[in-house]
Amino acid sequence: MAKKSYQRYAEVPIDPNGGTIKIGLEFPDTDLVCTYTLNVREKGSNTPISGFPREGDNTNTEDDEYPLPMPSEVNIGRRGIANITILDQTGDGGYYQVDMVVMQDGEEKGRASTGKTKMKDNVVTEMLMVKLRK
């Protein structure tokens, strides 16, 4: 079976006339501590949009998912950028995977991912980015 390829950057097509867009982070298959700052920046600028940046981690069961402003078309060209830190709280090492997922009307529109990665230090940083387009 071919190995699945992962990209830390993804251009994600959205429907400008569709419903609410949500950007979220997922932490499949890891028991290492992961924290993040998620920012959404304006098109062609480094200015964050209202309500961002947001912070979170993988120690609770709440969804790490954040809605973007409506109408959806205002989000075209905006970038979602996550700075993620993975921390080894036991010293046993392990693997992690962090995905940044874009949803619209409950449907996945695209994702950026670290892929399954072996923890090589006590602290590792990752960055994921999605750019929303028509």
């Binding site: 981690d57 950028i81 036991t90 090492g93 006590n122 960055m127």
Partner: protein, 380 residues
């Protein structure tokens, strides 16, 4: 002060390694006078990770550790494919909850008992053509020394993580070249790193600390995590622990699965309690097993009970132990021991004991032992 402590630790480690060889020779010579069954007269305080392999009295070279329910299905299917004949041998260890719920930190924090439950199974060929089949279950009911569930450590680690994320986010704003990340993420990160390093020093200044340009931000945060973890280990080494394991062994007189017959059952249990905040611990262990013959008549059994008192810290500790063991059709054994445990280097422990052992009606004997124990080394 810190370098003095480090030097003290190094001296102790070198001293431990030097005396290890001497003690090993001494321990071998005294052991020559001991009977095999007397050697067993001690409680087992270590609950086996995979009780099935313990009951089969073997450590398999290859242990299958499927991590998804699908992989378990494939393993079982492979074992059963060739007619009804049992395979030559296998060893399997699984965490059932992990298979179905997936690995998740929030899941582990909500249900640590289910995530720690392990099931093992194994098969071994005997010289007479028969096969031994072992199964085992390991339960960790309470483990307050588990770093993963230590709320104080977790909160501190989350704080470190958020600080690092925040610096990364500010650095993105300063670099302001997001198209570069889309085309060449490695180059983007190369340009971003010195900005993050310099922001780390700005942060230290804001906290009224001296900036330290000799360390990168990654090294600085790494060092903080290691420090937090070491302090948590010192704080937790003597915390409450309740563990138990059950195992059974069945024998098949030929290579067919349908002739399996249960022969041995074993149970282990350990309870550990702190007697004060960080320097002492009392551990109680219980271990029992019985063996049946082909006519389902009990032909052998043994039972042991022990208690060990520890004083020290996570790296060096002394102990005093009392054990009692009852073997079917034999007089009970009693053992008194004194000893110490020393963490000589990452993942390696030396365990030295000297003891007094007596069986009712026999003369008392002096015993000694030096063991090296290995655990998974930590990432430093």
């Amino acid at each position: 002060m810190s370098s003095l402590l480090q030097s003290h630790k190094r001296t102790l480690r070198i001293f431990a390694l030097t005396i290890l060889g001497t003690l090993q020779i001494f321990s071998q010579s005294t052991k020559l006078n001991l009977r095999d069954d007397a050697e067993k007269a001690r409680a087992d305080f270590a609950i086996p990770d995979a009780p099935a392999f313990k009951v089969l009295d073997t450590i398999p070279e290859t242990i299958l550790r499927p991590s998804t329910a699908r992989e378990v299905g494939i393993v079982i299917s492979n074992l059963l494919t060739s007619t009804s004949t049992l395979p030559k041998g296998f060893a399997l260890e699984v965490t059932p909850y992990l298979l179905f719920a997936g690995r998740s930190l929030s899941g582990y924090l909500s249900n640590p008992f289910l995530y720690r439950l392990k099931v093992s199974a194994g098969m071994l060929d005997n010289q007479d053509g028969s096969k031994d089949f072992g199964w085992g279950v390991r339960l960790t009911i309470v483990n307050k020394s588990d770093l993963r569930t230590d709320r104080t450590l977790l909160d501190s680690i989350l704080h470190v993580g958020h600080e690092f994320d925040h610096l990364g986010d500010i650095a993105d704003g300063i670099l302001n070249d997001f198209d570069l990340f889309g085309t060449n993420p490695a180059e983007y990160n190369r340009r971003k790193q010195p900005i993050v390093d310099s922001l780390k020093d700005e942060q230290r200044k804001a906290m009224l600390l001296e900036p330290d340009t000799s360390q990168t931000a990654a090294e600085y945060f790494d060092q903080r995590v290691v420090g937090l973890r070491e302090r948590a280990k010192e704080r937790n080494w003597n915390k409450e622990l309740v563990e138990m394991a059950l195992a059974g062994k069945s024998t098949s007189s030929d290579s067919l699965a349908k002739n399996l017959m249960a022969t041995t059952y074993t149970v282990w249990g350990v309870v550990a309690l702190p007697l004060d905040s960080q320097t002492t611990q009392l551990v109680g262990g219980i271990n029992g097993s019985f063996e049946k013959n082909q006519d389902q008549v009990i032909v052998g059994s043994d039972f042991s009970l022990g208690s060990r008192f520890y004083a020290g810290n996570n790296s060096y500790k002394g102990f005093a132990e009392i054990d009692w063991q009852l073997v079917r059709d034999q007089q009970p054994f009693y053992t008194l021991k004194l000893g110490g445990e020393l963490n000589i280097m990452n993942g390696i422990w030396v365990d030295c004991t000297i003891g007094y052992q007596k069986r009712s009606g026999d003369e008392a004997q002096l015993t000694s032992g030096v063991n090296l124990r290995f655990s998974t080394p930590e990432v430093k």
